[in-house]
Symmetry: C2
C-alpha cells in the first residue's frame, strides 16, 4: 500500500464549476483508491481504453468519479478510457483523469488531474492539479494566468523535460539531450507542461515518439500562450479536439514560440 | 520568485536530535531563501565548494543553517560546500543540505535535505526529507525501517531512475534504458534512492558518469539494506566516508542485491 496522504486540491476560486468539481472528485477518488488497493491492484489492467492503451484500475476509478460530475452538469465528456460521451451539449469536459498513471500506481508522487472546458471545438479554460500535493494551475484562453514562463528563447542552455527515449526515435531524443543544459524525465506530461508554464523549466517535448493524445496537451494549449509560451506538434500537425483518442502527436511546450520552433526543428533533425 | 509554500518536515519522533534539528533548520532556511531571492539569485554561484563544483547561493544558505546546529552540538560536519569541519568529535553529521539544488533553485519541486550520523567512519542513522512536501524517511543501520523495497530481482521490466545521460558514458546509459520498463530522471539522487527504499521504483543508478559524492549516497547506504535493498558502486569501489569530497562514485541503489549487481554489470557492459 502507498501510505502517503493525498491533500485536497487548492483550486482557485475563479475556476469553472465543472473543472473545480471534477478536480475535487478526481482527488477524492485517488485518495480512496490508494486506501483500498495496493500498488499491483492499482496498476491492474482489464480492458483497453478509448486511446488504444490498457486502462489501469486507478484510471477507471478516477474517471468514473469525473463522469458523475459531467453527468450531473449534462455536458459531454472526452476522456482517456471512456472516450467521447455525447450528451448533446455544446460544452465538453476534455480530461486526463490521472496523468502519469504509472507514477501514481507505483507511488512515484508525480501525477495530475488535468481538464479543459471546450466550447464546440475550442478549449476555453483549463485546470491542472498535482494530486500528490494539491498544487493547481488555472488558465482562461486569451488571458494572462497568474504565472509566467521563463522567457527563454534558445535550446542551448535550456532545461528541458522529455518523454522517455524510445528506440524508434532515439536519435531525436539524443539531439535534444546533447544541447540542453538540464534533462529530466518526470513521466507526467500535464505536470511537466505546467512547470514550463510557471517558469520552473524551459520546455517539454515528446521527441518524435508520437505518444501524446489531445487529453495530454489541451490544458497546456490553454495555459501556455497567455503565460508567454507556445504548444505545438513537432511536425506542425494541428492540435485538434477530436473524439478519436487514437490520434497521436509529438507535443512540444516551450517558454517562447521561438524555443518551441527550435526544439521541434531539432527533433525533426 | 517561487511562490509555492515550503511545509515543515514531518520528522519521525525516533530521529536523532542532530538529524531532526538539521532537517528543520534546512527546511526553514530553504523557505527563507525562496522568500528573499528569485530563481536567478538562488542559483547564483560565487565560489567553488569542497566537492569541486560551484556552490549556489541556495546551497550556502541552507548549509549555513545546518552548520549552526552542528556547532551547537559540538560534533563534526562533512558537507558539500564547506567540506570537513573537524570539531574533534567521534561523531560527524554527513549532509547534503539541498540535494537537487538545480531543481530547487529553478522551482522544480524535487529537492531534499539528507543527513547521516557517522560514528568514527561508520554511518549509523540517516534522515532524508523532501523539502517541497515535508515527507521524511528515517533509518537506523542494522534495523528494518518502516518501509520496504519492491523486492524486484531483475532489470527486465524494472522501473529505473537514472542520472541524466552524459556523452562520456552514453552507451552505458542507453543499455539500461533499453532494458528497463520505465525510465525516469528526477535529478535528485537522495529522493530517488528513497523512492527505491519505499518500493515506489525498483532501482536508481549513475550510469558510469562518476558524478556521485559520498554525501549523495550515505543515507541510502543506511536505509536500503534494512529495507531489503542494496547500494554499491558500479565498479565495486568501496563506499567510504572520506573527508575529501572530490572522490566520486557511480552509485547504484536497488530493491535487491541481485538487481543491484545486474544493473552494475549492465552499466559496465
Amino acid at each position: 500500500m502507498i501510505g502517503w496522504p493525498v491533500p485536497d486540491p487548492q483550486i482557485p476560486s475563479a475556476a469553472h464549476a465543472v473543472l473545480a468539481e471534477a478536480a475535487k472528485a478526481a482527488s477524492a477518488a485517488f485518495r480512496d483508491a490508494r486506501a483500498r488497493y495496493d500498488r499491483a491492484q492499482l496498476a491492474e489492467t482489464s480492458s483497453i481504453g478509448a486511446d488504444g492503451t490498457a486502462s489501469m484500475r486507478l484510471d477507471l476509478l478516477v474517471e468514473g468519479a469525473i463522469a458523475e460530475v459531467v453527468e450531473a452538469h449534462r455536458i459531454n465528456l472526452l476522456s482517456e478510457e471512456v472516450g467521447f460521451v455525447d450528451n448533446g451539449s455544446a460544452v465538453t469536459l476534455v480530461a486526463d483523469p490521472v496523468d502519469g498513471t504509472a507514477n501514481a500506481a507505483a507511488g512515484v508522487p508525480l501525477s495530475a488531474f488535468s481538464g479543459a472546458i471546450v466550447l464546440d471545438e475550442t478549449p476555453v479554460e483549463a485546470l491542472t492539479c498535482w494530486l500528490d500535493t494539491g498544487r493547481c494551475w488555472h488558465a482562461v484562453a486569451g488571458r494572462s494566468p497568474e504565472f509566467r514562463t521563463s522567457g527563454r528563447r534558445s535550446l542551448d542552455g535550456a532545461a528541458v523535460s522529455l518523454l522517455r527515449p524510445h528506440e524508434r526515435s532515439a536519435d531525436a531524443w539524443w539531439r535534444v539531450a546533447k544541447r540542453a543544459a538540464r534533462v529530466r524525465i518526470l513521466s507526467t506530461t500535464c505536470l511537466e507542461t505546467m512547470l514550463v508554464a510557471e517558469g520552473s523549466t524551459d520546455a517539454f517535448a515528446d521527441a518524435n515518439s508520437d505518444t501524446h493524445r489531445i487529453v495530454d496537451l489541451v490544458a497546456a494549449m490553454v495555459a501556455l500562450p497567455g503565460a508567454g509560451g507556445a504548444v505545438l506538434d513537432v511536425h506542425g500537425r494541428p492540435l485538434e479536439i477530436d473524439p478519436d483518442l487514437r490520434r497521436r502527436w509529438s507535443g512540444v511546450a516551450a517558454a517562447t514560440p521561438e524555443l518551441a520552433d527550435e526544439l521541434a526543428a531539432t527533433i525533426r533533425g
